[in-house]
Symmetry: C2
Subunit: 352 residues, 2 copies
């Protein structure tokens, strides 16, 4: 599959969407992006697994980073892409192949940016933190991620979004006692008992705290459940997987303590946690960017790798085409006009 | 693996337990039983898949059937078998390899029974009805199951148990709407909604009707649950598998109507149903047997293939070693003395 980086950014987005790249299966898309980038003589390209880093080397006093993940959540019967009334539909169209398309267009068509630019394309953002390609890069090739300011092109509807919420995954195991289902009163049904865990989730009241002037919105939800031994056995175990999205005024340790308190008395295993990032919009580099692209910043609710950049000491914001509220839905889509708008504004910033 | 059918019936039971035979994987045990039976010149042996039928052909005026299934529920860290204080522990020890051991001992050591005898060993009793080896035999080789009276050696604690309850499996599908879990209020969580189905199950009051003088005890239970799309997606579907055990005063159609009424408003799919059997203890052949082995008959709660024999027009009862209340539990066991008692009484009946 060949990618033409000089075509219209909307058409390029459609080409990217049509190369399926569910987390863990990004190779075909990474291969296509690598081949296209290697055709650009002004960039030095590095590959690490299914992540790619392409850099200009113009000796500018500042270096900025444009980053995006190339993986998507599982397909929900929403491939191949379709265009209808100016909207491009398809898995990953908003989150975040339109942002990746903007990166690729700029990489190809701005050979002499006013700041040196590092373009980062990485894998496995939509799964547990340990598999994240940006984490791998930050451990194995931190020098490739060095810079003065980073923009993550996650979907924000072309509004600067500050910080991000943290995310924690836990497994709540409910125990029971096996018995033949013809004599169920001899056992104790773990699935029936799990109704109490679901009751806690249904009754949970999520916080909406203000952090550095932006309002966040937490959530605690079941994202998986499994239980059952055989069709004639009262099950002795049921596991509910919950996802806690927490505002950046809570650390990962505080988030874990909160989940353990909510599920006090149950067997709780923390499977995965990634801290959030405070907005950080007072940083000069962030101010310069937000001034250039305009608009009123707001809070980022989904976890993004701005948190990763925060750990590396690089100021970072989220800014990209697409409505974050349609991400991960079967009807995911992005307005073609928004992709172009994002490309135009970022091109103006990089060439100013 | 070679089986010695002339060893003590308790030792033979241990040998059978130690040949793992979870439903669908009975072949090694069926092979061992077949090899042992083919060494007995007074029996004609037929094999059908992993089921075996061995028959005497003495021209007696009556033919009786001794039947047992050779599969077990999944192993629960309870293999190999262990003997402690006269109890044999292990997966399938009660349900029903001790009964199968009695069949095999009698097959080997009673070459001249007072009635012609058909020994039936079959597969896949512990799973959905369509896979049942006795059902397959009844369709493909009904002549092999002909007889005047049948004893199913399911665990009854050496008490004659009449009839059996029916069993129905249904899937209750709960729908939701996908969304990114960082913005859960944009979706509808199917796992949270499934809490209502669990609530119905927890509040269900099971009937305990009397049928032909015996008291049955129904039950409606979740035996499986699954839901979840990805760790950052609000799930749009959760399926709860329920098992309804119904007394033999209800037909399969009545049982289905009942389940649909209980889960009115949900998406209910009937996956599997097997009717029960009324006690039938007034039948002369049943009376002759119960008189010979003694004791006071009671209701059989678990589904057994007496229902299959009822459909074929063969009067049948349950009678075998082992406590049905420990069947399908991790601590499943059988008293060695009970296995011997069962063997002795049935030997007396067959040689009278």
């Amino acid at each position: 599959m060949q990618l033409d980086l000089f075509q219209d950014v909307g058409q390029l987005t459609a080409s990217l969407v049509d190369i399926e790249s569910v987390s863990g299966a990004e190779k075909p898309l990474a291969d296509a992006i690598e081949a296209a980038l290697r055709g650009l003589p002004h960039l030095t390209v590095h590959r690490d697994g299914d992540a790619l880093v392409a850099r200009t080397g113009l000796g500018r006093p500042q270096r900025v980073i444009l980053a995006g993940h190339i993986d998507t959540v599982p397909v929900a019967a929403n491939l191949p892409s379709q265009v209808e009334r100016g909207l491009l539909y398809g898995c990953g169209s908003a989150d975040m192949k339109s942002g990746v398309a903007v990166q690729l267009c700029l990489a190809a068509s701005v050979p002499q940016p006013s700041r040196d630019v590092t373009y980062v394309f990485y894998d496995c953002e939509e799964v547990e933190a340990e598999r994240n390609g940006m984490l791998r890069l930050s451990r194995q090739r931190p020098e490739l991620l060095a810079g003065d300011f980073a923009v993550l092109l996650e979907p924000t509807g072309c509004v600067v979004e500050g910080g991000c919420q943290g995310t924690l995954r836990a497994e709540i195991a409910v125990a029971g006692k096996r018995a033949h289902s013809a004599r169920s009163w001899q056992g104790s049904n773990a699935i029936h008992a799990a109704g109490d865990v679901i009751g806690v989730l249904r009754g949970y009241r999520a916080r909406q705290p203000e952090v550095d002037g932006l309002t966040y919105h937490e959530g605690l939800n079941a994202v998986g459940v499994r239980g059952g031994v055989a069709h004639n056995v009262i099950p002795d175990k049921c596991v509910i997987t919950v996802n806690y999205r927490f505002a950046p005024d809570r650390s990962p340790a505080q988030a874990e303590a909160h989940v353990r308190e909510v599920f006090d008395g149950w067997d709780v295993t923390i499977a995965d946690v990634a801290g959030g990032a405070r907005p950080g919009l007072a940083d000069p580099a962030a101010v310069a960017f937000t001034t250039a692209v305009g608009g009123t910043p707001r809070a980022k609710l989904g976890w993004t790798d701005v948190a990763r950049f925060a750990v590396l000491g690089v100021p970072a914001v989220n800014y990209g085409p697409g409505d974050p509220e349609v991400a991960h839905t079967a009807g995911e889509h992005v307005a073609l006009s928004e992709i172009s708008e994002c490309e135009d504004r970022m091109r103006a910033w990089l060439t100013a």
